[in-house]
Subunit: 199 residues, 2 copies
């Protein structure tokens, strides 16, 4: 039927990303498909390939948006804390995951096709989160050498991430859901305690 001109390509791209996020949120990443996105937008599949290189591109950009939200949410938690900001950002990270399980899992369970690359924004945004934790840690443990801060930030953050992963995939069967934040507190606080003892 040809050009309808109702939406610009930029608008179509935005619509597609929002629709994809909607489907991920409601039905999970596994239920996302190109045709489903297109149909829900009122277009056909081919149109998506005018604004995305391929399906991987669509998913990556949708996940990048989630990663942004996740970053802002975590940052917000740390900024509203007056002490132990490292713990607070960790709890903020967990809370976003618990509140948006499907979107959170989509970020970390998406299997990148062989031979494809991450979109640049994706790697940047992951890096930004680590950097944020590192900056909070350096304030909280001023006597720690910068090499140690770097390693510790990654260890701590990976640990918090691991708790989120296992909690969201139902693999923490011996732990009640309301105890999951306690796991984060336990890990972060004891690790920090151990660090300060070394000084």
């Amino acid at each position: 039927m040809g050009r309808r001109g109702e939406h610009s390509l930029a608008e179509i791209k935005a619509m597609a990303l929002n629709t994809a996020i909607e489907i991920i949120t409601q039905q999970g990443l596994a239920q996302l498909s190109a045709r489903k996105v297109a149909k829900q937008m009122g277009y056909t599949v081919g149109t998506l390939y005018l604004v995305f290189k391929n399906f991987h591109d669509l998913v990556s950009q949708a996940n990048a948006m989630t990663l942004d939200e996740l970053y802002r949410h975590s940052l917000n938690y740390s900024q509203h804390a007056i002490e132990n900001k490292v713990l607070q950002i960790s709890l903020g990270y967990l809370q976003y995951a618990l509140d948006n399980p499907n979107r959170w899992r989509a970020i970390f369970e998406y299997q990148m096709p062989e031979q494809e690359q991450w979109i640049p924004e994706y790697a940047e945004k992951v890096q930004k989160l680590f950097a944020l934790v590192e900056s909070l840690l350096v304030v909280q443990c001023p006597s720690l050498p910068s090499d140690s801060v770097h390693l510790t930030a990654h260890a701590l953050w990976s640990g918090v991430h691991g708790i989120c992963v296992l909690a969201l995939t139902g693999k923490l069967q011996g732990i009640e859901l309301e105890q999951v934040p306690d796991l984060v507190s336990l890990l972060v606080n004891n690790c920090l305690l151990g660090l300060q003892q070394q000084d």
Copy 2:
């Protein structure tokens, strides 16, 4: 062509599981398909459905076998350690993941179809790993109350798991691969140090 009688159904099932693990090991979970398994065995797809309920069933049982190997490997590491067994089992867990990335990722990145259940063995084996860590922790921290041991074991183990996840998915960009075991040591040792300080 009908019954060839070359293999019993039990043998066919074992062949399928071994073939699936082979494909996962070499090409990753994303490249696994029912037809590929069947073809590599010298059978057709339909035959697989004589011994598996569905594809989910096949993947689950293949992953359960990996989970067993992972458990034995981790147990072995802890048994050969004379002190700090909690750290050693953690490093053993990490090493298995680094040595068998595709099999390890298959366990944790497999998206269970909506409305399907884990096979019972699967949940049991995950539980067994947590229980093992908990039993080592209780020896290493005898003065810790049993409630705390339970929580701490899960927090610690999730932490170690998180490091494995991010390392294998290439999200620890600020860290060299040979430093990853250091991350595990840092997390585990500092957390244990913090715990002992609380006593």
